[in-house]
Assembly symmetry: C2
DNA sequence: TTGATTTCATTAGGCTCCGAACGATATCAT
DNA sequence: ATGATATCGTTCGGAGCCTAATGAAATCAA
């Protein structure tokens, strides 16, 4: 066994990092786990934007917001921001962009003049019905090296990390 | 068994998403895996920026660039960009910021006038020796719900995903 | 050698992204 | 009732982030 297309042993970058921090009493497992989460997220994000989203004028975050609206239906602004993992001020800008694309509507809250309801449009629903299966196809491809059981294990471990972050 | 602090069963957000896409023949495992990678990456990034990096005037990407320079030493610009997962033009801006913080130097390539060598400074080395152990402490905390073996499994699965993205 | 091509980093333009400051609305105390 | 407080979304200022266009330097052709 030397090198193969499905080699999952330590990379040269990881080796160099280990050498650097060896004297500092560092948790290498925690380090590599976090580093690889970022590498994976970056790569998938870039691929999705390039191959799928750019042609619709959508950023990854814009797509995420649309996804949340598609799944949950109309949302109050602050809920939508939280569920999409962006700040309120970022959401203001994203919603502005999506509004010019006619992909969201802003509606007044019936009883509270401060609040704003963001709602998907018919165009959003059509777009997501076309776009989401393609996005899922990409998700399938990037996880194609894992069995169903391995995917479950991955999901569970990531949830554990998210729980630690909430606590 | 109802709810507990370490519950890793399906979340309400995941349930809502499953309901929405049920009719579309979607791979739910792939979907949840990718979604949780993004949730984890976003949360860790935000926490690191807020709790650790902001007080030094560093963005997460700026920290990543410093980390690469710390691990690998002086790098040519395009190598540094690739290893840090940003475009060359983004790196130009990041380096500019780091330069005003006196955390990098730009050096001319000895034989090729087009190329640029980016090098860490003494200040960088001191900073990283102080900052990195704290960053690793954060990494330890967010992965504290996982055993050493589980972390290895997580790392291996993420590498598998990265291999699929390179292919 | 000089003109064409290639390969670097930077600039230009336009979103994304954040925290802080801001105005508007609602609520709470008295 | 009315002033203090809290809670909304937006704006502001500044950095990050991308692709495409640009400019500088090296290489290749003939």
């Amino acid at each position: 066994m030397t090198e193969s297309a499905h080699d999952t042993s330590i990379t040269v970058a990881e080796k160099a990092a280990h050498k650097r921090v060896r004297a500092l009493g560092v948790d290498l497992g925690a380090m590599d786990a976090v580093a690889n989460i970022f590498r994976a997220a970056n790569s998938i994000r870039n691929k999705a934007e390039r191959d799928l989203l750019a042609r619709h004028g959508l950023s990854f975050t814009g797509f995420t917001v649309l996804w949340v609206l598609w799944v949950w239906g109309p949302q109050e602004s602050h809920q939508l921001a939280q569920e999409s993992s962006v700040s309120k001020s970022t959401l203001t800008g994203i919603v502005k962009t999506l509004h010019t694309l006619k992909l969201v509507e802003r509606k007044a809250h019936p009883s509270d003049g401060r609040r704003l309801i963001i709602a998907p449009t018919q165009k959003t629903l059509h777009l997501m019905e076309e776009l989401f299966p393609r996005f899922n196809q990409l998700e399938k491809e990037v996880t194609s090296g894992l069995t169903k059981k391995e995917k479950s294990g991955l999901i569970k471990k990531l949830r554990t990390i998210l729980h630690a972050l909430e606590g």
